[in-house]
């Protein structure tokens, strides 16, 4: 059974005095058990809007989202099991963690909201275990997010998600704001956690190099449309769609190397 099934999703934003924009245009996607599906595209491609629909934060005009066989409505009409089974990690942990609460209080609050998965016995012990899972000392529990580094804050966001025993983790540019030496720690952590907790991951990013490190499959978006969907290995060796080739060529160019093994169209790299 697919973990997440998105069918014919459409989101239209209406601008004042302007014509409406199709942010997401009839997109269908599946996330399979235990896999990491990367959703890639440039700014305005609609990838974050899809994440927001999955989380129930944006209401689509058309289409369905099904989580483990259960159709999903807006977040306030979702059964508790679907709410906790789907957790999100945001780009900027500094603004997605409550600055007035300690790390311990942040995680306990998640358990208070979802008593069904709250630890039965000693919560202090369970708290330490969740923190250890993301590579943090138990001592962090008494500190506030502002006293932590960016990497530690992102570990707290992941711990808060994990505390609810989710089935699917939605990561929206979760490592984009981190320093490179810290970025690789968090990517490593996500790979390990996915295996240990049998998680599926919907990983949203603009960075193809990051995709190469962690994705099993990739869906490429452009201007609200799904351009192509393919196994990650194939994207880096034989991308089919011209737009995917353009993206990959630009990424290679940034790394200072010409990628010409599939070079048929060079119009995308002309200055202006």
């Amino acid at each position: 059974m697919t973990v997440l099934e998105i069918r014919d999703l459409r989101v239209t934003y209406t601008g004042r005095g302007r014509r409406s924009v199709r942010a997401v245009d009839d997109v269908s996607l599946d996330v399979l058990p235990g896999e990491t599906l990367a959703l890639v595209g440039e700014s305005g491609s609609g990838k974050s809007t899809i994440a927001r629909c999955v989380m129930g934060l944006v209401r689509p005009q058309a289409g369905t989202i099904t989580f483990e066989g259960q159709p999903l409505g807006p977040v306030d009409r979702r059964p508790a099991s679907a709410q906790r089974g789907l957790q999100m990690v945001f780009q900027d942990p500094g603004s997605s963690l409550n600055p007035r609460m300690t790390v311990g209080a942040i995680i306990r609050e998640a358990w208070r909201t979802h008593p069904a998965v709250a630890p039965a016995g000693d919560r202090a012990e369970a708290l330490a275990a969740v923190l250890a899972d993301v590579g943090l000392d138990a001592g962090v529990a008494t500190r506030r997010p502002s006293a932590l580094s960016g990497g530690q804050q992102q570990r707290v966001s992941i711990a808060r998600a994990l505390a609810l025993a989710p089935r699917l983790l939605v990561c929206d540019e979760a490592v984009s704001a981190l320093d490179v030496s810290v970025q690789s720690q968090i990517l490593r952590l996500l790979v390990d956690l996915r295996r240990e907790h049998e998680l599926s991951v919907l990983f949203i990013t603009h960075d193809l190099a990051v995709v190469r490190q962690i994705a099993d499959r990739v869906a490429v978006m452009r201007s609200g449309e799904l351009v192509e969907q393919l196994p990650a290995d194939q994207l880096f060796t034989e991308p089919a769609h011209p737009y995917t080739r353009d993206l990959l060529r630009a990424a290679h160019q940034l790394e200072g190397a010409a990628f010409d093994s599939f070079d048929t169209d060079t119009s995308g790299e002309q200055v202006s």
Binding site: E42, S43, S149, G150, G151, Q152, D179, V180, S181, V182, Q183, S184, Q185, L187, R188, V191, H206, D207, L208, A209, V210, R212, Q213, I214, F236, D246, L247, L248, A250, A251, H252, Q253, L254, E255, G256, A257, G268, E269, Q270, V271, S272
Partner: protein, 327 residues
């Protein structure tokens, strides 16, 4: 100044910046030394808190109020660090131009791009028509399509990539000998980034302008820098020709950075992540600032701060064990 290379356009010597934050003070830049040669691209690379932007801003005295400085910034036989503010303002924007990361914040939203690019030519006393012709030529040179149409546009009417091109055109208007670019492509999409970088690299080749490029992105640096200055916690960890520094690092931090950068070419970047977080210059570890994260750490590293030393001509490292670092 006897060993100053004859081609050095800018020579930074033991630059120090001390900032106060509340009751504590921090030496945010600790004896930074490097030079920028004419016609070359020097990359200043580091993670957050490394002082790369602070260094760039110190060169043209755009520092936070209350900052105390020491050392020298030699610009063509003149020490800019000791110069009067009026003199530095003359140099800035003319001989040395600065391109900032976020063009939307650096551009004036109430003026057309043509007016902003034309500011220096206009101050030079060029006629209206001559200023307009010069601006059109600059817009064309930075690859803005249809300059006649775009010259009267306001910043918000342009795309992110076009705004960054406008910033570059503004920088070029003063015909500078050095351009300082602080993360000029970080806010742009990857396809736009590649084009703006190609433009910047092309300028250097055609105009012989020196470029000081500040970035956290090693991929960008590998692509465009001739020389690299690797910074960590407000100090220079390593510097030298870019190719040599990246291919055979002489500092464990550079090596870790190179191995940790995700690449579209391989899947190995997350194999052995570096532990910990970048050090904070306000709370710098004793000895070598990198020692708590370093796989080669010895007792000496914990107590004795390594000096930047020349290992071979042009290659400098601030590591006690520089000779033992293997790629």
């Amino acid at each position: 100044m006897t060993d100053r290379p004859p081609t050095a356009l800018l020579d930074v010597e033991d630059l120090e910046v001390v900032l106060a934050a509340g009751a504590t003070t921090g030496t945010v830049l600790d004896r930074i030394s490097f030079s920028v040669d004419a016609g070359r691209t020097t990359g200043l690379i580091g993670e957050s808190g490394s002082g790369k932007t602070m260094t760039a801003m110190a060169l043209v005295q755009l520092l936070p109020a209350g900052a105390r400085t020491a050392g020298h910034v030699w610009w063509r036989e003149e020490d800019l660090l000791g110069a009067r503010a009026r003199r530095v303002r003359q140099v800035r924007g003319r001989e040395i131009a600065v391109i900032f990361q976020d063009p939307l914040q650096a551009l004036n939203p109430t003026q057309t791009v043509g007016r902003q690019i034309g500011e220096i030519p206009r101050r030079d006393g060029l006629s209206r028509d001559a200023v307009r012709a010069k601006v059109l030529e600059l817009l064309d040179r930075v690859g803005i399509p249809d300059p006649e149409q775009r010259i009267d546009a306001y910043p918000h009417e342009l795309s992110g990539g076009q705004r960054q091109r406008v910033m570059i055109a503004m920088a070029l208007a003063g015909e500078p000998r050095l351009i300082i670019a602080d993360e000029p492509t970080t806010a742009l999409d990857v396809t736009t980034q590649a084009r703006v970088l190609a433009l910047i690299a092309g300028l250097r080749e055609r105009e012989g302008t020196a470029l000081l490029l500040v970035s956290h992105d090693l991929r960008v640096m590998a692509n465009v820098a001739d020389d690299l200055v690797v910074m960590y916690a407000g100090r220079v960890a390593e510097r030298g020709p870019a190719r040599a520094v990246l291919d055979s690092p002489r500092h464990p931090y550079t090596r870790a950075l190179a191995n940790n950068v995700p690449s579209v070419r391989t899947r190995s970047a997350i194999a052995r992540p570096l532990p910990g977080a970048p050090a904070n210059p306000f709370d710098r570890p004793a000895g070598c600032a990198f020692h708590p994260r370093c796989p080669l750490v010895t007792d000496r590293c914990r107590t004795e701060t390594p000096r930047l030393r020349e290992l071979e001509p042009g290659r400098f490292s601030a590591c006690h064990l520089a000779e033992e670092v293997t790629p």
